[in-house]
């Protein structure tokens, strides 16, 4: 996911940094694999609740959403810290998010509904929260497929535009999450604290991404450095 404009300064790096980069890369994969490890531990400890299918389904959904937020946090983090080395890892985190989405969907379609496509399609058409979730997943699918250098080169400027859709995926995923829980955004009551927190985080990350805000932060950062 090297952005063309930043590709140059990330390619030529002094050798002493390679170990550090390896560590960073390992760290990123650790973040991506952590949910899988967590689930394995819960499974071994027989802690998947009395309703394991639902638990696993929701667990994968939360993992996909958390990692999607991690993807969206990379750019603002770079803006705030100037740590450019993080940029290429957006792609890795994004692919992990997609990976957990696929597991979430498979749990829903295979384990939960036993590949009863009639029922799955009916639910997908009738229930807004499933529609939002499916759209978010569809976006992640397109972004994952076009995340390779081949597409980056081929789509040129359009690639960046296309991949901005990750914010839309984030918003749809938060909406899907909010509507899946027993609460109401209309009366602001019920089980809404976690979706609200996710929505607030998403909004914050979006604000930090606005060009004007970003320029201001970079300017301030350089001021402090001096």
């Amino acid at each position: 996911m090297n952005l063309p404009s930043r590709a140059d300064n990330s390619i030529i790096q002094p050798r002493r940094l390679t170990n550090r980069r390896k560590l960073l890369s390992i760290g990123i994969h650790a973040i991506g694999l952590l949910p899988l490890l967590q689930l394995t531990v819960l499974w071994v400890r027989d802690s998947l609740t009395a309703n394991p299918i639902q638990f696993i389904e929701q667990f994968f959904g939360r993992a996909a959403l958390n990692l999607l937020m991690a993807v969206l946090a990379v750019s603002p983090l770079v803006t705030l810290s100037g740590w450019n080395a993080l940029i290429p890892h957006r792609r890795t985190l994004g692919l992990y998010s997609f990976f957990y989405f696929v597991l979430h969907f498979l749990t829903f379609a295979v384990l939960d509904y036993g590949l009863n496509w009639g029922e799955i399609l009916r639910l997908s058409a009738e229930k807004p929260f499933i529609i939002f979730g499916s759209l978010a997943g569809l976006i992640l699918l397109v972004l994952a497929l076009t995340s390779f250098e081949y597409w980056m080169k081929r789509l040129k400027q359009n690639w960046r535009r296309l991949h901005k859709a990750v914010y839309l995926a984030g918003a749809l995923a938060v909406l899907h999450y909010a509507l899946a829980l027993k609460g109401s955004l209309a009366t602001l009551s019920g089980d809404i604290s976690r979706p609200l927190a996710m929505g607030a985080l998403l909004t914050l990350l979006l604000i930090l991404r606005l060009p004007a805000v970003r320029r201001r932060i970079i300017f301030l950062r350089h001021q402090i450095k001096k």
Binding site: N51, Q54, Y113, E119, S184, L188
Partner: protein
Amino acid sequence: MKPDPIPSSEITPKDLYLSRREFLKTLGLLAGGAVLAACAPKLAETQSAATAAPRPATASPRPAVTPFSRATADELGDPLNSYKDITNYNNYYEFTTDKQGVAVLARDFPTSPWDVQVHGLVHRPRTFSVDELIRKFQPEERVYRLRCVEAWSMVIPWLGFPLRKLLKEVEPAGSARYVRFEAVYQPEKMPGQKVPFYPWPYQEGLRLDEAMHDLTILATGLYGGELPPQNGGGIRLVVPWKYGFKSIKAIIKIELTAEQPATLWSTVAPDEYGFYANVNPRVDHPRWSQRTERRIGEFGRRDTLMFNGYAEQVAQLYNGMDLRLYY
């Protein structure tokens, strides 16, 4: 995950059970778990209080109730869910929204002594202790299906008595048309009540004829033992043909009213949770389908039954009503 049905050969005969009870009393032991271990070794394996075998009535000063569940299935032939599943998978937002976390957080929640105030449009308002209710109304075992609005279900052997008996005791006035239930509010002991997004305390309501129906019970026990705090102890409502959230837990007040009372979930989301909340596969929750459900312990989904399988007994309560309108 499959429930462990107790073979009838392993059910302790009542006289033996009673003598054990005396024996334990003499020793002053709270060793009920050990007694049960013989009958349900699988349940007793785990150490934590939340997963241990039911606290049998022997350990309590309360009058004896059925020692163990004599039933192994509901009237449709579906096996009981295990004690472990029933007491470790709980929807009880007063503690937490994490179904596995409820048993842990509720472990030290005191459920005895427990008082229930019955008041409102009645001729003889009174406060009853649960111990007195148990003595007076002799709880019996009722094996009911519980269908959660989240589309999972269990088969549970409750110990309880018809709510009707209690209502008769206080003599409802002619003007009484509804029954309002209010649950305990103790945020210092129930961390979920500190979450600001709910209009605590939990409250629920029934139409008077629903409340007088023989299937409607106040439960004081489970699997032949006490009613654990995570399942709604000291005392809870069980209305098996309605979604689980109607069966309010930890009741402290029962009030007879002329007007339809507000309920917690219909206050939170009026378009989604109606007053009636009858299990109905043909009327979906706006966000979730109610056509199918997962029985805890089973792999596939099964079709949800009209009135949760109790249509024969309760359908006449709703004659002439549009159940899409009165959801």
